[in-house]
């Protein structure tokens, strides 16, 4: 089996085993063992929930350091539109794009522009009406994985289109190759607010290979950009995107861009789960399109961002206003980047991953489930988390799968100790007849 790559990792030294993260993980992918959190690879969807929850900063997302761009002769940055919202008092995207170039990139292309192209393509597929309703956006990779793991029956509803970052990476490479730069010299780096997008660049599931060569976290680049931005007086005209593409960073942005009527935009993974439950129950097939984003506020609330998502949202409004007032600027950067023909569709279907199942054989799975119910019945059902599993039910599941013991439950352990103590007392009372003070002869007790 191919090894599973995850961006979300644990810094073992910082983890104190507090069990905060296990309780909020939407796929119950974390357990605490020997005082440290442990992520189950096959269940993790890289949503970054645990990164946000952990007050000890023991959960982090692995990304490439900025230096890694030097592995390539021609360095290209493709920033996510969320980057524009992170800086106080900066509303002109050109300033940020210019600053990126000063950090050492030879070229910058906005992912927001590719989002506009993806939007156009999505409209076409939706108009054909071949995908079962409600069509679910594939833009948030954490949600795609969530569906794959928890709602596999909804896989046919997902829009089978590649992400804007992937599209941009393809356009960029083709364009630069046509301009005479060698393919192997080009390094395309995505500036990401998102851990799941790191993972799906390293290990894409629905395309053969990602054109993104590295992912740099928005947090890291932010720190390096701040001093540079201050020095920029006359920015280069690098912006190509309009408000439509930039707005993708925000919940509802994709649906708004496509102009699809009758759509739902939902953010925050717990809210998304509620909506997907409804879809699975057949209750939303009168809705055309559902945009689900794992983070509150959409990518503006991504785990690798710096700014609070509500503040970012306010900035987004200001950036949009600025763009409205400066419509001519981005028209100036009109390069034939998108003349290339690239494939915008998934090249292979998304597979179901039945990671929740107890056994491959239904009969055995039923047996295990019966045992699970029995064990669960014994447990106190208060979901305290002391056993290292998120709920008593999850502990019961771990026990039947041979990954935990019933004594891992502190209450069960206490019960057992008490039973043993009682047994010991009873035993202790059983004196050998030779020294027993009890005279059973005749039934009268001689004291």
């Amino acid at each position: 089996m191919e090894e599973i790559f995850h961006s979300v990792r644990l810094d073992i030294d910082k983890c104190i085993g507090c069990t905060d993260c296990i309780k909020r993980c939407p796929t119950e992918a974390i357990r605490v063992r020997n005082g440290k959190a442990h992520i189950m690879d096959e269940r993790c969807i890289d949503c970054g929930m645990c990164i946000r929850i952990c007050r000890n900063h023991a959960k982090k997302a692995v990304t490439e350091p900025l230096d890694s761009i030097n592995d390539y002769k021609f360095k290209v940055a493709i920033p996510a539109p969320t980057l524009y919202t992170q800086f106080r008092n900066v509303v002109d995207p050109n300033i940020i794009l210019t600053a990126l170039k000063r950090l050492g990139f030879d070229e910058v292309f906005e992912v927001a522009r590719a989002a506009e192209i993806i939007t156009e393509e999505s409209k076409k597929i939706l108009a054909k009406g071949k995908i079962p309703k409600p069509v679910i956006s594939s833009a948030c990779p954490a949600i795609v994985k969530l569906i794959q793991i928890r709602f596999p029956s909804l896989i046919p509803n997902i829009l089978p289109i590649i992400s804007p970052k992937e599209a941009m990476a393809r356009y960029a490479k083709k364009y630069l190759v046509r301009k005479g730069i060698k393919k192997e010299d080009i390094g395309v780096f995505f500036i990401s607010p998102c851990a799941a997008k790191v993972t799906n660049s390293k290990q894409p599931q629905v395309i053969d290979e990602s054109y993104v060569d590295g992912v740099i976290s928005l947090k890291e680049i932010y720190l390096k950009l701040v001093p540079v931005i201050k020095t920029i007086k006359e920015p280069e005209i690098l912006q190509m995107s309009s408000n439509t593409g930039i707005g993708w960073a925000h919940t509802g942005g994709e649906g708004y861009a496509s102009g699809i009527e009758n759509h739902i935009a939902v953010d925050g993974i717990e809210n998304v789960i509620k909506i997907l439950e409804k879809v699975e129950n057949g209750k939303l097939d009168d809705v055309n399109f559902i945009e689900c984003l794992a983070c509150v506020g959409g990518c503006l609330g991504g785990p690798l961002t710096v700014e609070n998502c509500f503040v970012s949202s306010n900035r987004m409004d200001r950036i949009k206003k600025f763009n409205e007032n400066n419509k001519d600027n981005y028209i100036k950067r009109n390069i034939p980047l998108f003349d290339e023909k690239i494939d915008l569709y998934w090249s292979k279907p998304l597979q179901t991953k039945q990671v929740m199942k107890l056994d491959d054989d239904v009969e055995k799975a039923i047996e295990k489930l019966e045992q699970l119910e029995e064990i669960y019945d014994m447990l106190p059902k208060i979901d305290c988390g002391s056993c290292g599993a998120p709920t008593c039910r999850a502990l019961a599941e771990d026990i039947v799968c041979g990954k935990a013991h019933i004594e891992d439950c502190v209450f069960m352990l206490r019960q057992k100790v008490r039973d043993m103590a009682e047994q010991m007392v009873t035993l202790a009372q059983k004196m050998p007849p030779s020294i027993s003070k009890e005279n059973t002869n005749g039934g009268t007790k001689i004291i």
Binding site: S153, E280, N281, G282, K357, V362, A365, I366, E370
Partner: protein
């Protein structure tokens, strides 16, 4: 294996709890997504029906390697005209239920369409018993 659920009446907000739980169980058994979806649609519909019309009831599920049998029982008012209730769009839901978006009259026909077998017994004033079957293989 057998599973039992109690469904409370009148609780529109929490309706769907039993179907959610069953769904989770079926996923643990590795039942195919297609079957899970069919079960979800029927269970949810039946659960909502029970909440709206019958002040709750009980659901008993039996799972074998071959099929899933669901028995849904309530002691509600019963269905007066079963033929009518089986027609798409027919509903006797209260205005309160309708205001909440339930009772669009899709219940029984929808259940019939998505299950592999359906049997219904109903008596006015006594309640309704609905038996559903789904093939696993």
């Amino acid at each position: 294996m057998k599973i039992h659920y109690d469904v409370e009446g009148g609780e529109f907000i929490s309706a769907g709890v039993a179907s959610s739980k069953l769904k989770k169980t079926l996923k643990q058994l590795g039942i195919s997504p297609n079957v899970i979806r069919k079960v979800s649609i029927c269970m949810y519909e039946a659960e909502i029906n029970m909440v709206i019309h019958a002040d709750g009831g009980v659901i008993d599920v039996e799972i074998t390697p071959e099929n899933i049998e669901i028995l849904i029982k309530d002691e509600g008012p019963g269905i007066e005209d079963l033929d009518l209730a089986m027609q798409v769009g027919y509903s006797t839901a209260s205005s309160k239920a309708r205001e909440m978006g339930f009772g669009a009259g899709m219940g029984l026909p929808n259940i019939k369409r998505h299950s592999d077998g359906m049997k219904i017994e109903t008596k006015v004033g006594e309640g309704t018993k609905l038996e559903l079957i789904f093939n696993i293989k």
